[in-house]
Symmetry: C3
Subunit: 132 residues, 3 copies
Amino acid sequence: MNTIQVRTSSRDEMMDITRKVQQAVEESGVQEGIVYIMSAHTTAGITINENADPDVKTDMLQRLADVYPWEDPKDRHMEGNTAAHLKTSTTGASQVVIISGGRLVLGTWQGIYFCEFDGPRSRNVHVKILHG
Amino acid sequence: MNTIQVRTSSRDEMMDITRKVQQAVEESGVQEGIVYIMSAHTTAGITINENADPDVKTDMLQRLADVYPWEDPKDRHMEGNTAAHLKTSTTGASQVVIISGGRLVLGTWQGIYFCEFDGPRSRNVHVKILHG
Amino acid sequence: MNTIQVRTSSRDEMMDITRKVQQAVEESGVQEGIVYIMSAHTTAGITINENADPDVKTDMLQRLADVYPWEDPKDRHMEGNTAAHLKTSTTGASQVVIISGGRLVLGTWQGIYFCEFDGPRSRNVHVKILHG
């Protein structure tokens, strides 16, 4: 298991970590298998989405903020970041990608994103590779 | 790794691919393990949900369209399919199912669905089986 | 594969099953690998989220009920639990956790939750462990 450290720079942010995951796969020497990418946090998730137009990230973060507004008078959690917990369970804490020929099997437009929902912070992403 | 090709026929559509995944499992000969089902796209996901009443699919697509409306004046993405990207990250790009005795371990009402959110299109679904 | 049986006590409920999953891992003797936690149902999911302040669970269930209200005049599904199906596809039917040194690799605040969205009911959660 490897741990990738990321440093986010705003409250909501989608950071492309595809290259770091690919690098971990290459260092493992695994040619065929599966890689798991896992956030170690409850206010930051992982998703797979578009890697081309950066406006997709902007729109996604805006839409998620519309669905789960930062402030909600019904919230009880004193820390005030309930929305970040919801966004994390919506994207998911982890993603999985197939490895074939030593490469991540991703569609043309697919990138792996670390999704910060309560930054800026230093964060850990665990990467686990299974041969098979 | 197998790739299942699907052809969707409307913008939003949940297509039951359980039999195709079961077929891939049978062809692999794996009796105990795990199967990963992965969309190769950023505007189409995979989910596991009800396989009995087709109204569940209709309701799910309607509810997702209410939460993530197709048009939003705040969207910047020129392609105009931001909602499809959100729906994909909500359902997830992939699902995993346990294999036992050569069969998918699914509850009585569980089916595996390819979720088209920006069709109609030809799409690819990767299926990867791990023995263990 | 193990099956954990849980008994929920209200319509919406997040039940911490981390200890039960850790116990299954210990009984397997697997030191390094992956564990899959899967709901066998279409109106109950699995998520990973905060294990400290119980108000997070209350807020999450309230926010999900706001996004997917129990009654919607557009719903067609006669059973009347369409919202539960949506919540299940949002959290996901399963989660995966890394095993290292015989222990679940979870962040300080991460717990594994069985998410009941149409209880109270008796429910099954499948646990599958892969060595690797």
